[in-house]
Symmetry: C2
Subunit: 287 residues, 2 copies
């Protein structure tokens, strides 16, 4: 969107009749003004589905174990918040930590201990971008070292894994959802696919009708049923901004998502796309 | 299956009329005698689908980058072999390393360099259980160290990531498919689900008919079309054995799967299961 801003300013300065429209797309859902971004709903559906499946998997064991799932989101915890969606069937993570709140290792350990009083398995969802109060990324506090002493960053999930191992000594596993959360097209959200097409088509119409220096937005219409309208917003209000998860979507303990957050997220993952399968795997349209 | 053996021996020794039947289930596909195991086809379908999606994702970038996907399989590389299935659309990994062959870091780096002469992105699939010639697990050669010096194993994918980083200095990412490869029921194989039901029902019939100390097996019937029959085999021939990927399924360079391997794997991932969705995510049957 910064490029849209720059290109549109350049065209204006040089009196060049080129219209520049930002067409949003990011699984991070962190663009300003728009209610949500194309791509997010499908990634959220993958996250919610996978969290529920992981919870089913770990719930069959009777040994004390902590499972930590690291989810994309450097500055905003939208995708991690989507892990709360299986709560309707009681399959949400027990604890959810977003980058919107400073991460405290002591609070984390006491949260885990509390859940363990109820059941042996504890499921934790965590944004890759969580930071300590000091501002340091939790994922930067640990390093991977090979036989020659070479180092690499280990990530937030692995860092929490080490914390649990040291503090509680129980079985612990960290899972980084990694690239699949942004490319698992086989479990796309129909709502997302429909809106994406609509946003793209509307962008072309807007350009033909003279618009420039704007980004297409999805506006949610108030009411009991989910409904949206496509709009535009000045690119200057969007470029270089980050829309974080609002306070009212995060519980007061900073370790879970509120009902209002679930209500916002739920319609975005609704509906399934029938993928075409060939030789047992989905066919991709390659242009 | 070792427990089946022990229980059936105990019943025999004590002249106790209890019939013990092994009902195979493992995503690892490493049980002796049976052509394949219930669970494997669904896990293989997830692996193949995800590999194809990851390849689509990484292929849009022009910067040199190596992506390493670590797949389950401690002693046998069956699930990693399934990563070759997207080859029908040209979407298989460029390089596939199984625990059936000793892993050589120099050969690996020269393999990656060769692929990079053709295109900037290189996709590698690797079993968690690969070992160096010395017998040491590749995944045990690296450690994660936290700020206090506490250590944990990093895994084979991370180890290869560090090797690439040091030897080639290019962008590199490792992805551990982790638990989702054994619990992503939303993308189960219809072939697998059908056979699983058949194997379970046949086990009950076998027990009623007097069988004991056996495991149910799936036998593949020779012919152009895929067909199977359910059989039984003595548990003594199965317990504590491991069926590895045969030589004829692995290419001579030890970095890929042969056409014969693909032919074996393909029918096992065929067919889709229509999951029931509720609130945007699959419903699970909880007993």
């Amino acid at each position: 969107m910064d490029t849209v801003l720059k290109l549109s300013l350049y065209a204006k300065t040089h009196d060049y009749e080129m219209r520049v429209i930002g067409v949003p797309k990011t699984v991070d859902n962190d663009l300003m003004v728009t209610d949500h971004t194309p791509g997010f709903g499908s990634a959220a559906k993958f996250v919610a589905t996978t969290i529920k499946e992981i919870r089913r998997d770990i719930s069959v064991y009777s040994v004390k174990a902590v499972t930590i799932v690291e989810i994309m989101g450097r500055d905003a915890g939208w995708l991690t918040a989507a892990s709360a969606l299986p709560s309707v069937s009681g399959d949400a993570p027990d604890l959810i930590y977003l980058p919107e709140r400073p991460f405290d290792a002591d609070d984390f350990i006491s949260d885990v201990k509390r859940v363990m009083q109820e059941r042996p398995y504890v499921l934790v969802a965590v944004s890759e971008g969580i930071r300590f109060k000091s501002g340091e990324y939790v994922g930067a506090s640990n390093t991977v070292v090979d036989a020659f002493g070479h180092k690499a960053l280990s990530g937030a999930g692995k860092a929490l894994e080490v914390i649990v191992k040291n503090e509680l000594g129980c079985k612990v596993r960290s899972i980084e959802l990694n690239l699949p959360q942004r490319c698992s097209a086989h479990i796309a959200s129909l709502c997302d696919i429909r809106e994406s097409l609509e946003v793209g088509a509307s962008a072309v119409s807007a350009a033909i009708n003279g618009a420039t220096a704007v980004m297409m937005t999805i506006e949610r219409i108030d009411g009991d049923d989910y409904a949206t309208a496509i709009g535009t917003a000045s690119i200057a209000d969007i470029a270089n901004g980050v829309k974080v998860v609002p306070d009212r979507f995060i519980n007061s303990e900073g370790n879970g998502i509120t009902d209002e957050g679930i209500k916002y997220l739920l319609p975005l993952i609704e509906g399934e796309v029938s993928a075409v399968y060939e030789y047992g795997i989905p066919k991709h349209a390659v242009i």
